[in-house]
């Protein structure tokens, strides 16, 4: 019997060793996390539309035209036109910018303050923890949308205010998650070891506690990305979100839902698909990022 020949290089490559260049590393990750790669593609498509809206949109998204009011999808308007004759495709492409700004902006803002409060609360404990936790209890007693509504009404409709209004209800959620993680992490022997070394408390909190709370934070943040887009839609519908004539998917969807869903369903279907894909992509990406960021799940 012939001695089996083992091609070590090929075996290693198959097992994922020798990922030297960034590109092959990315390819390896994409192969290991196919759903994450789909999520990333969807998200990149959203970013691309948002950033290059002026160049890729075929028409001006705010230009009205009485002649093409409620035009069905066709040669002139690929995805049809709304009641004011504005091109749906162009409005959806421009809407990506609003959704992206609101989703990413409010998530980053909310997570930042949530992390600061949660980490300080869980690490310092004492009266600071007691007071912040009671405030958070009160904030959490209100539903997210109601909170956002109150905030938006108080601040007035504009893009910045919508971002702030959506980010504030996120703060207590993030703070709770980070605090509970911090509480268990601060008792871990590796934190004691850091103290035994003589490390300052701030450094321990930032270097040893914070990185170990990242996984749940990223899951929370990406889930929030989707719900922020939905909240923005609700706010816009109630006139408290992004003001007209800026194209917001949420408002496009909600203002035409009741009136035109039978006569001009493209007004409802296409913004709906856009929202679904954005949220779906963000969630898939989040799951993959969580797995990749956790070294224990890497083999």
């Amino acid at each position: 019997m012939a001695k089996p020949v083992i091609d070590h290089a090929a075996e290693l490559a198959k097992a994922g060793a020798g990922v030297d260049s960034r590109l092959s590393k990315a390819w390896f990750l994409a192969k290991s996390y196919p759903l994450g790669a789909i999520g990333l593609l969807l998200f990149l498509a959203l970013v691309f539309c948002g950033v290059f809206a002026e160049w890729i949109a075929p028409m001006d998204p705010v230009k009205t035209n009485a002649a093409t009011s409620l035009a069905a999808p066709g040669a002139l308007h690929a995805l049809g036109a709304d009641m004011m004759g504005r091109d749906m495709l162009s409005r959806i492409i421009h809407g990506a910018r609003i959704s992206l700004a609101v989703g990413i902006g409010s998530t980053i803002l909310g997570c930042f303050f949530g992390v600061v409060i949660g980490l300080a609360s869980g690490y310092l404990l004492g009266w600071f923890d007691l007071i912040t936790q009671r405030i958070i209890d009160v904030m959490q007693a209100l539903p997210l949308l109601v909170m956002a509504l109150v905030m938006a009404a108080a601040l007035g409709p504009s893009l910045e205010n919508t971002i702030i209004a959506i980010s504030i209800p996120l703060v207590p959620h993030v703070a709770r998650v980070i605090r509970s993680n911090t509480l268990s992490l601060r008792e871990m022997p590796f934190v004691e070891a850091a103290k035994a070394i003589g490390m300052s408390e701030t450094r321990i909190a930032l270097k040893h506690v914070l990185p170990n709370t990242l996984a749940p934070l990223i899951v929370l943040a990406t889930a929030q990305l989707g719900s922020a887009i939905l909240t923005e839609a609700s706010l816009s519908f109630l006139g408290l979100g992004i003001p007209e004539p800026h194209p917001s998917w949420g408002r496009m969807l909600s203002e035409s839902a009741a009136e035109y869903v039978r006569t001009a369903p493209w007004l409802v279907i296409f913004p709906g698909i856009a929202i679904s894909f954005a949220v779906f992509g963000a969630n898939l990406l989040g799951d993959a990022v969580r797995d990749i960021l956790d070294p224990r799940q890497r083999s």
């Binding site: 871990m188 022997p189 590796f190 004691e192 070891a193 850091a194 103290k195 035994a196 070394i197 003589g198 490390m199 300052s200 450094r203 040893h208 990185p211 170990n212 070294p295 224990r296």
Partner: protein, 328 residues
């Protein structure tokens, strides 16, 4: 670091009447409704290059002694001296130079390493915190430490989860060695390891002790391990030391009934030897409400009336063999 260098005759670690009481709080306002008397008046000293073994049942406060002596927990009362200097009331900043002299190795090799740092980063961190050397020097020192504890330099890039339990414990030892301490507190450093790995780690620790003239405060519940590594052994029961002697004396001539019982519970690897078994009845009483008099009287086979009311003090029975018992 001139102020840290003191007369070399002073013990590396000296603890006097150390107490650690944890308050039990309840309700919204965190009222203290009682105390856990985890450590209740413990004194000992560890000389340069020596090993003091600290044994006792789970919950007797031996780990708390180790952590309080390192000031990872603030002592309720008592004195901690490092190389003759009282460090009990030093602030965190003042304490830093003394941190270099004492390090700790933990029981659980899984939770004692930050899962998000590579093994190299973990070992290098103490050097960075204490500003020892520049980047290149620290890298070299880390490599040398990896070599010394029996890990490959190529493993510096790996994360803790990629190591076995024994290897992780070696990383923990390398981290403790990085600052070149004169004392290492081993908080059950081998209890979580397989027996074959235990021997390797114990031998590594003993070799390192000889090389670097380090002192160990070795906390364990495994008497065979303690007998192997220690020069002196102290037996703890419910927050107090009940007996302390050099290893040979303690193992051949235990005086305290509790030590007697502990020793008779340890198996002898020779089936022909029959030994009178003294099996203790009941559990360790709660450290929240320790028994009056001798803490051990509730389980002691020889207890008399006197033991229930009068607290025995540690008495010297010669050659540094001290014991707290009315009857011996």
């Amino acid at each position: 670091m001139a102020e840290v260098e003191t007369a070399s005759e002073a013990p590396v670690l000296e603890v006097e009447d150390l107490k650690k009481h944890f308050p039990i709080q309840s309700g919204m306002l965190k009222r203290t409704i009682g105390h856990v008397y985890a450590v209740d008046g413990v004194s000992f000293s560890v000389g340069r290059g020596k090993t003091l073994g600290l044994v006792g049942e789970s919950g007797c406060g031996k780990s708390t002694v180790g952590r309080t002596a390192m000031r990872l927990l603030e002592p309720t009362d008592g004195k901690i001296k490092v190389s003759g200097t009282d460090v009990t009331n030093l602030s965190k900043t003042e304490l830093r130079p003394y941190r270099r002299q004492m390090q700790i190795i933990f029981q659980d090799p899984f939770s004692s390493l930050n899962p998000r740092m590579t093994a190299g980063e973990i070992v290098k961190e103490p050097l960075y915190i204490h500003n020892i050397g520049d980047d290149a020097e620290r890298e070299e020192m880390t490599k040398a430490l990896f070599d010394r504890v029996g890990l490959r330099q190529s493993q510096m890039q790996n994360y803790p989860h990629q190591f076995s339990g024994g290897q992780r414990q070696r990383i923990g030892i390398a981290r403790a060695l990085a600052l070149n301490p004169s004392l290492i507190v081993g908080d059950e450093p081998v209890s979580a390891l397989d027996v074959s790995i235990q021997a390797q780690v114990i031998n590594l620790m003993m070799d390192l002790q000889e090389e670097r003239d380090m002192a160990y405060l070795f906390i364990a519940h495994d008497l065979a391990v303690v007998e192997h590594i220690s020069d002196e052994v102290a037996v703890m029961y419910l927050g107090r030391i009940v007996e302390k002697a050099d290893k040979k004396t303690l193992f051949t001539n235990p005086l305290h009934p509790y030590t007697e019982a502990l020793l008779s519970a340890a198996p002898i690897p020779d089936p022909t030897i029959r030994r009178e078994k003294k099996i203790l009845q009941g559990d360790v009483p709660s450290p929240i409400n320790p028994p009056k008099g001798c803490h051990f009287h509730t389980r002691c086979p020889y207890a008399e009336e006197r033991c229930k009311v009068e607290e025995p003090v540690l008495q010297n029975k010669g050659n540094g063999h001290i014991v707290a018992c009315h009857l011996r």
